[in-house]
Structures are given as structure tokens and as C-alpha cells.
């Protein structure tokens, strides 16, 4: 079954083909990317089919000892290890210090589900982008990076050891940087890309240290080996490792307090946002925690921390999202909030609930982002205050977007309802009652901002009368995604069973309060924004809740705090280093140069004065002496005679004196 490897390899190949081309050829052959993705989707569906029809009894898959034993003896909290892998592949590609580093991939039900989600959303996004990015002259590069991004996520879902996981994780970090900063001619995308990269880097450092710790105690990166050795770890080690992995997941999945990069990441192209925020980047963090569940469960404390982080994020993201005016920022904060939900589920050991919400969220959030893309494409603005009345102008967009919005709000019978229900059930069964009510509160806030968005954009006075639905390139992916959004919820039970868990249908204990929360939230949204249908600014709300509103509008001061405590310090340090560089280092270099120049000047002067002086001095001395002596040779015979006589007289005088 090694053809499974082709699923990540195909988009990667699309990148390899496109990347070295010239811009012109890359733009022409950009369609290679959706084509590769389509084939990958077919293969993923086939792989999924193989997994569902897989009978463990008839197959002696060479699965190394998994941590089944751990779970068999576990308490009620422990989930059965998601059904064993159908296929494993391991190639040792390097031996470092006697340790074999392997290219390990495995196809288990979780991975199969993720493959389908990622390829489906990836294909939808790429088809959508064909139209959305049509007039961009760097669209070839866009498709190349999107392909690489998807390939990395696919490889990550198949990864069977932490090494591959980490490598693909980092490739995604790079791709998100490239996509967020895609329009790098402008200031904001550039800054956002750097911010996203650096913020997730903070998490990645935690992840890396966690990997070191795991290596120290397990001596291997293979999932099976690591989980098998978890029970033998010293107390605290599992907690430390799990928390470090959690830090990495928090960075990638934009959990408080590392969530600040995600709203800014909206500076990238909208379909790329759909990809980042639905299927790939942010899902990776959730997936990491889900994959590392045995470590988290061995710790217990780490699960509590995950729960707290998730609950905080779910609420904070929703509250901040409620006061945003940029349609994409609302969706971004919504993503943060929904990721918080997933973390809550994982924190309550609700592996299946978390993964299920990851799946439903991937579909309805990519649908919402693509819808936002159509709207932005049609109205040429992202500010909801400049939109309105699109219901009549863009009926198809409205219909599909509404499906996504209702799913996000958690309304029956859309998929969000089922996955939220599962999360609530997981929280209740884990006796996390505080978190249960926080989740309900978050559901209320979610419903509020969803209806706020919907009423503002689709009802009221039409401000952009020429807006219209997109072409089929744009509408077809949205239609497919909305069908999935409706359908996927009904798979809740079979999904649980596929992951080796007992499924159950929604129970009144959970769906009554959750529906009540959703309905009241939507009612409040209608009351504030939909009722009069002409409320197009927030003055009233601002006045009514001035202090609170400011707090949320300032994003709960996270950005300001980071700016104050970290960014500015860092910039100051950088400036200081730059000054040090300019003064001390450059000074030393320039000083050496000028000292050398001065010494050669001095040597030049010495040459000119002393050496040349000596030479010229001797010459001029001789010259002057010659001039004096020349005066004697006057050419007059009588003067010579006078000298002769004088000399004779002197001689005579001398002789006379001597004689005396």
C-alpha cells in the first residue's frame, strides 16, 4: 500500500515542478497544482475506503507494539487507542550517533480522515483560487506554495514519528510565512508574515525542547516506541514533555496567549486564509495534541492545562471577534475560538470529540472563508460597515455562507451542532462542569458574532449595488463544502466508531443548553444588528458598553502588552546592537583602516621630507657650493693674477713667519 505516500508526494511534486519555472511559465502551468490535488483527493478517498473496510482479524499488519496495553489497563478517562494502523512504512534515512532516524509513515483511521479533509479543502481552495487569483501576476508562485503547504500537512497527518511530524510542521511554518506575506509589496502583509513566523516560532521552540526531552527518555521518535515507554518515565517528565508539546501546539493553533499572529495573518490572500485556518496550519496543533494523547493522559496535569488554555481561548477569541469590523478578522477570531473548543475537548480526553470538531470546523470554516473571499472580490472591501444588503445581490453566496454560519453557531441540523454536542458531552462526562459552562458561554458569544456578521453583510441597505456572485470556479467549491457541512454532522456516530470509540447520538442534557445558547446569542445579534436593519455603525453599542467595548476592541491588550514587553525591548536591543555594530565593530574596522592610512601618510611624509630631503639637500648643497666656487672663475685674467699674487704673498708671509 505504498501508494499512500503518493498523496503527500503529488502536491509536493506540483511544487517541485512549479518552483523552478520562470514567472510566465509558472503562471501558465499553475493548473498542475489543482490537478495534483484532485488526484491526491481520489487516492485519499480510496485510502479512507481501505481503512473503513479493514478487518484487523484477517490482516497481520506488521504494527509494532502500540500502547494498547496502556489503555486496556487505563481508567474510564483513557480512550482506546484509535484503531490500529492499516499500513506502515519505515525507511531509515540517517544514523546519528547510533540512533536510527526513520522516515516513518502510518495510515490509521485518524490519518485517513485527515487526508480526506485536507485534500478536499485543499482542492476546494485551489479551484476557488483559480478564479480569485486569476489576475495576480504571481499566481503561479501562489499555487506552488499552496501545494507545498498542503503536501506538508498531508505528510504530517501520515507521520508516524515525531521527527517527520516536526519537519513537516516547520515546512508549514515556512509556507504560512510565504502565503501571509504573499503581497509583500505592501507593508501590512510583510509585518503580519514576520509576526506569524516569530510567534509560532516561540511555540516551536517549546516543541523542539519537548522532543529533546522525549528523546532523552524514550530514545526514539517513533510514536509507538515513545508511547510504549511513557509509563516508565519518572513522574513529572510526562507532564513536562506534554506541556512543552502543548506550547508548540498553542503556537501553531493560535491559542491564548500565542494567538496574536492569526488575526494579522488575514493580510494574505483570502483562499490561503481558508486553507491556513481550516485544514492545515492551525489544525496541526490540535493534531499534535491528539497524536500525543498518551503522553498527556500519563500526565493528567497537562490535560488540565490544555483544558484551561482551550476554555480561555474559546471565550477570548469569541469576545474579541464580536467587536471586529473586518469580515476576515471576525472569522479569524472565530477560528481562534473554535480551536479553543477543540483544545477543551482534548483537555477532557475527548479525542474523538476534538477530531470531529476539527473535521466539521475544517469544512464550515473553509466555506465561510471562501464566502468571505467572494464577498471581498465583489465589494472590494473587507470592512463590514461598507457592506450590506448582499442577500439580494448574491443569492448563492448568501445561501452557502448561511449554511456555514449556522454550522458555526451550532444550530441543528448542521455539522457544528453535532461536534459541539460531542465536546459538551466529553466535558460533562469528564466532570469539568466549569469548562462545560464556559463552553456554553463561548457558544453564546459565537452565535452572537455570527449573527452580527450575517445581518451586517447580508441585510440592510445595499451599499455596493454592482456586487454579484462569483463564477463557477468560486461557487462550485462552496457548494460542495456546504453540502458537506450539512452532511458530515450525521456521521458523528460512525466517526466515533471508526476511531475505535463508542458513538452516541446527541442527548438532551447537552443539546438543549447548547441550542438555547446558540438561539439566545443569535437573538441578541438580531436585536442589536438585524432588528432595524439600518444600524450601520456601532455608536450605540459603544456608548452602552464603553469600557468593555474598548477592552475587546483593543484585543484584550494582548498585542499592546507584547508590543510593550517584548517587541519594543527587542527592537531597542536590536537598535543597540546595531549601534554597537556601527560604532564598535565598524569603528574598529574603520579605525584600523584609518590608522593604516595615517601611518602610510606619515611614511609618505617621511619619504618626502627626510629621504627626499637628504637627497635634495645634498644636491642643493653641492649646487650652492658650486655657485660660490663658480664666482671665482670670472674669466678675467687679471683677477686670476690677483689670486696668484695674493697666494704668493700668503706663502711668503707664512715662510717668513715660520722662518722667524
Amino acid at each position: 500500500m505504498d501508494w499512500v505516500l503518493a498523496i503527500p508526494a503529488l502536491p509536493a511534486a506540483a511544487f517541485v515542478v512549479l518552483a523552478p519555472m520562470s514567472r510566465k511559465w509558472r503562471n501558465i502551468s499553475a493548473r498542475v497544482a489543482p490537478l495534483a490535488m484532485a488526484v491526491a483527493l481520489l487516492l485519499s478517498v480510496f485510502a479512507f475506503w481501505q481503512v473503513t473496510t479493514f478487518d484487523p482479524g484477517s490482516h497481520t499488519a506488521a504494527a509494532p507494539a502500540t500502547s494498547d496495553a496502556l489503555f486496556a489497563a487505563g481508567d474510564a478517562k483513557a480512550q482506546p487507542r484509535p484503531a490500529e494502523a492499516v499500513w506502515r512504512h519505515r525507511t531509515v534515512f540517517a544514523n546519528v550517533g547510533g540512533a536510527a532516524l526513520g522516515l516513518s509513515f502510518a495510515l490509521d483511521p485518524t490519518a485517513a480522515v485527515m487526508l480526506v479533509i485536507v485534500t478536499l479543502v485543499g482542492l476546494a481552495v485551489q479551484v476557488f483560487s483559480l478564479e480569485y487569483m486569476r489576475s495576480d501576476d504571481r499566481r503561479g508562485w501562489y499555487f506552488a506554495v499552496v501545494s507545498l503547504f498542503t503536501a506538508a500537512m498531508l505528510a504530517l497527518t501520515l507521520a508516524d514519528n515525531y521527527l517527520i511530524f516536526y519537519m513537516t510542521w516547520e515546512v508549514m511554518g515556512l509556507c504560512s510565512y510565504l502565503l501571509i506575506g504573499f503581497w509583500h509589496q505592501q507593508e501590512a502583509p510583510r509585518k503580519a508574515a514576520v509576526k506569524a513566523f516569530l510567534t509560532t516560532r516561540v511555540g516551536d521552540v517549546g516543541f523542539a525542547i519537548g522532543l529533546f526531552l522525549i528523546w532523552m527518555h524514550a530514545g526514539s521518535f517513533e510514536f509507538a516506541d515513545v508511547f510504549a515507554s511513557v509509563p516508565s518515565w519518572a513522574p513529572g517528565v510526562a507532564t513536562a514533555a506534554a506541556l512543552l508539546l502543548l506550547v508548540g501546539a498553542m503556537g501553531k493553533s493560535a491559542q491564548v496567549p500565542l494567538h496574536v499572529w492569526l488575526p494579522d495573518a488575514m493580510a494574505g490572500p483570502t483562499p490561503a486564509s481558508a486553507l491556513i485556518h481550516a485544514a492545515t496550519m492551525v489544525a496541526a496543533g490540535v493534531f499534535l495534541v491528539a497524536r500525543s494523547m498518551p503522553i498527556f493522559e500519563a500526565s493528567g496535569t497537562a490535560l488540565q492545562v490544555t483544558l484551561v488554555v482551550g476554555a480561555t481561548t474559546a471565550l477570548v477569541g469569541g469576545l474579541i471577534g464580536s467587536v471586529q469590523h473586518d469580515i476576515k478578522k471576525v472569522l479569524a477570531y472565530s477560528t481562534i475560538s473554535q480551536l479553543g473548543y477543540m483544545f477543551m475537548a482534548l483537555g477532557a480526553a475527548g479525542y474523538v470529540a476534538g477530531m470531529f470538531h476539527l473535521m466539521t470546523h475544517a469544512f464550515f470554516k473553509s466555506l465561510l472563508f471562501l464566502g468571505a473571499g467572494v464577498i471581498i472580490h465583489a465589494t472590494h472591501t473587507q470592512d463590514m460597515r461598507e457592506m450590506g444588503g448582499l442577500r439580494r445581490l448574491m443569492p448563492w453566496t448568501t445561501a452557502t455562507f448561511t449554511v456555514g454560519a449556522l454550522a458555526l453557531a451550532g444550530v441543528f441540523p448542521f455539522s457544528g451542532f453535532f461536534s459541539k454536542d460531542e465536546i459538551l458531552a466529553a466535558l460533562w462526562k469528564d466532570h469539568q462542569y466549569v469548562a462545560f459552562f464556559l463552553a456554553l458561554a463561548a457558544a453564546f458569544v459565537t452565535a452572537f458574532y455570527v449573527s452580527r456578521l450575517w445581518f451586517r453583510v447580508f441585510t440592510g441597505h445595499a451599499r455596493t449595488p454592482h456586487a454579484h456572485d462569483g463564477t463557477w470556479h468560486m461557487m462550485a467549491p462552496m457548494a460542495v463544502l456546504s453540502v458537506l457541512t450539512v452532511a458530515v454532522g450525521w456521521l458523528a456516530v460512525s466517526f466515533s466508531e471508526l476511531l475505535g470509540h463508542v458513538g452516541h447520538w446527541p442527548e438532551p442534557l447537552y443539546y438543549l443548553p447548547s441550542t438555547a445558547a446558540a438561539m439566545s446569542g443569535m437573538a441578541l445579534g438580531w436585536w442589536v444588528y438585524g432588528r432595524s436593519a439600518i444600524v450601520l455603525n456601532t455608536t450605540a453599542l459603544k456608548d452602552r458598553a464603553g469600557y468593555l467595548y474598548d477592552m475587546f476592541a483593543q484585543k484584550l491588550y494582548f498585542d499592546l502588552t507584547y508590543d510593550h514587553l517584548v517587541v519594543r525591548r527587542f527592537v531597542a536591543l536590536a537598535n543597540r546592537l546595531s549601534r554597537f555594530d556601527a560604532t564598535a565593530v565598524d569603528g574598529a574596522v574603520n579605525g584600523a583602516a584609518s590608522a593604516w592610512s595615517r601611518s602610510s601618510d606619515a611614511s609618505d611624509r617621511f619619504d618626502a621630507t627626510v629621504v627626499d630631503g637628504a637627497v635634495n639637500g645634498v644636491a642643493s648643497l653641492v649646487g650652492r657650493l658650486g655657485a660660490r666656487l663658480r664666482a671665482i672663475q670670472s674669466g678675467r685674467i687679471q683677477s686670476y693674477q690677483r689670486y696668484v699674487v695674493a697666494a704668493l704673498l700668503v706663502l711668503v708671509v707664512l715662510i717668513v713667519l715660520k722662518g722667524a
Binding site: 666656487l629 672663475q633 670670472s634 690677483r642 699674487v645
Partner: protein
């Protein structure tokens, strides 16, 4: 007062000094030649006087003086010829103007 050797020698020295002065100071080359003649005659006086007072038996000094006068006469003829030649070449016989060998 008897005239002795000393008187002759003083006379010769005086004559020599006059001649020397003339040779060193006169501008005209003819005058210089004449001064040279004075100096030569001072020598002749010495020759004759010394011959008469120191070796009266021999006539060497007297004879030498005669030879000397002949040579002087020839010499002066040569000198005058040179002066004439210079005069023809430079239209002047003044010694101060003859400085073409100046360094």
C-alpha cells in the same frame, strides 16, 4: 754716499711693484704688456746688480740679462700680435671685457 747692492735691489723691487700694479690694474692690454716689460726689466736689474756685486769675476749675469732682453723683446712682439688679433675679433683691447672663459 756710495751706491751699493741694496740700492739696486730696492730699485728693482720698486720697479717690479710698479710693474705688478700696472699688470694687475690696467684696463688696456697694451698697458699691461708695458707693465710686464717693467717687471722683466726689474729682473734684469737684479741680474746685472747681483752679477756685479756678488760674482764680479764672471760675466754670467750680464750675459743672461742680454739674453733676457732679447727674449722679452720677442715676447712683447708676440704679445702685441695677440692684442691686435683680439682687437680685430672683438673691436676692443680692454682686458675686463675678455671674460668668455667665465665659469
Amino acid at each position: 754716499m756710495t751706491v751699493g747692492l741694496g740700492h739696486f735691489l730696492v730699485l728693482a723691487a720698486a720697479l717690479f711693484c710698479v710693474g705688478l700694479y700696472g699688470a694687475l690694474s690696467k684696463r688696456s692690454s697694451v698697458m699691461v704688456l708695458m707693465s710686464l716689460e717693467l717687471m722683466a726689466n726689474a729682473v734684469n736689474i737684479n741680474l746685472v746688480a747681483l752679477s756685479r756685486f756678488v760674482t764680479p769675476a764672471d760675466m754670467t749675469g750680464q750675459v743672461f740679462a742680454v739674453f733676457s732682453m732679447v727674449v722679452s723683446a720677442a715676447e712683447i712682439g708676440l704679445g702685441l700680435a695677440l692684442v691686435l688679433a683680439i682687437y680685430r675679433a672683438t673691436r676692443s683691447a680692454e682686458l675686463v671685457k675678455l671674460d668668455r672663459l667665465r665659469g
